[in-house]
Every structure is written in C-alpha cells, then in structure tokens.
Symmetry: C2
Subunit: 136 residues, 2 copies
C-alpha cells in the first residue's frame, strides 16, 4: 500500500502522514526498494485513530499521549479517562468563551438599525467602553 492509498483509506492526507512521521508521531515505517513508503492495515488503523482524535479536537501532543496508551497493553483506563476529561474541559471552556462573544455580538447587532445611515452602535460599542469586561 502506497502513501496515497493509505491516505485515502485513513482520511489523513499524504502530506500529513509524512509530517506525522517527521515529528515522530508515527514510526518511520517500511520502505520499498524505490524508496516509497509502504503501509499495511495496522498502519491505516493507527492513522484512523489519529484522524478520529483530531476530529475530536485533540492536539498532536495529546494524541501522542493517547497513542502511547493505545499501544501500551498495561495501561489503565483511568489515564485515558483523565486525558479525555481534561480535553473535554478545555472544549467546554472554549464553548463558554465563544458563547459570551456571540451574546455580546447579538446585543450589538440588535441595537444596530442596519440601514444607509452612518450611525452605528456596533462601531460605537467597539470604540467606546461598552464592551469592557469581555476579555476573552
């Protein structure tokens, strides 16, 4: 299996597969005589693992830890749980921040009459002290 097929099968682009290899996230795998990388089903499985974790917003460093746990038969599920819980918390924090931004924006948008006149509470809000305390 060449890198293109592995990319297709895993949902990870060939570019990124090479990159993950270069940063040591995945092992320097086998090469054929012509220098082409060679992949099997296990490699694809690992790449799909990475892809799923990325889809869930895990950083590459978090994924590095997850992969260590995945490969380690003697792991404790508590370690995995802890890592995932920490990540969930980060996401929830981010959601809260974004919701605060959205709420402020909605208030500004509602105050704006949105016509051809230049008066604009949105710009006034940004320029004035009205938004003080948002600090995201």
């Amino acid at each position: 299996m060449q890198i293109g097929a592995a990319a297709e099968a895993s949902g990870v682009s060939a570019k990124m597969i090479r990159h993950y290899e270069s940063i040591g996230l995945i092992a320097n795998g086998a090469r054929r005589d012509n220098g082409y990388r060679d992949y099997d089903q296990r490699d694809v499985h690992e790449l799909r693992f990475i892809r799923s974790a990325r889809d869930l917003g895990f950083s590459l460093e978090e994924i590095r830890a997850l992969l260590d746990l995945w490969r380690n038969k003697a792991r404790s599920s508590r370690d995995v749980h802890s890592l995932a819980a920490r990540h969930l918390h980060q996401i929830e924090t981010k959601i809260t921040e974004l919701q605060a931004m959205a709420q402020t924006l909605r208030q500004l948008l509602q105050a704006c009459h949105s016509d051809e006149r230049p008066e604009c509470p949105i710009l006034d809000g940004l320029g004035g002290t009205a938004i003080r305390g948002v600090h995201c």
Copy 2:
C-alpha cells in the same frame, strides 16, 4: 506618549502595536527625534477599538474592514451590521462544532469505567469505526 504607555492604556501589547503597524492595520505614526514612536489619545482609542474587536473574535482582516468603516464618515451601518452578522455566524458554527465534539467525548467518557484495567471504550472508540461521521 511612548509605545509602552499606549500599550498599557489600550490593552494591546507593544509587540502587537508594532506588528499592527508593520502589516498596515494602523498607520505609520509620528516619531520623535530619537526614533521612538509617539502616540496620542486618538491612537489609543483606535488601539482599544482593535482590542475590543479581537476580544470578540474578529480576525485582523475583518478588523481592517471594520476600521475602514469606522474611519469613513459616509459609511452605512448596514455594511457594519452585515460584517458583524457574518462573524457571529462563524462563531455560532464553531460553537456547534465544539458542542458535537463535547457530546461525543462525554459519551466516550461515560462508557469508560476509569480504573486500573486496560480495557477502554475511549481508545476503542477512537480506533474503531464508532466515531465515523463526526468529521469536524
């Protein structure tokens, strides 16, 4: 007013003020004889505008457009409204994505017994086909 004082007064770091100037977001302002940048209240006002907009998640390119509207007395509030509404929509989309991630993570966390045993539905979920369709 030197850059440090302007940074303090606006909440924008000196580093970023120089950067904003270098990318043309703010004008190349006055310099004193010694080469130091010199700021007045209007500059600080503008920097605070930028800071507020960043706090609301606007990108620097969006802020560039907002600043153009801010400076343009002949603007229409509709243009500002449209720009802000588009940005709000982006934020809401992002929130939805993060909520989907959080929901999936919560399900995985709930399925995980979190003890010293190696069996772990979280890793199984990431490795298997269980998360297919998340695709954020």
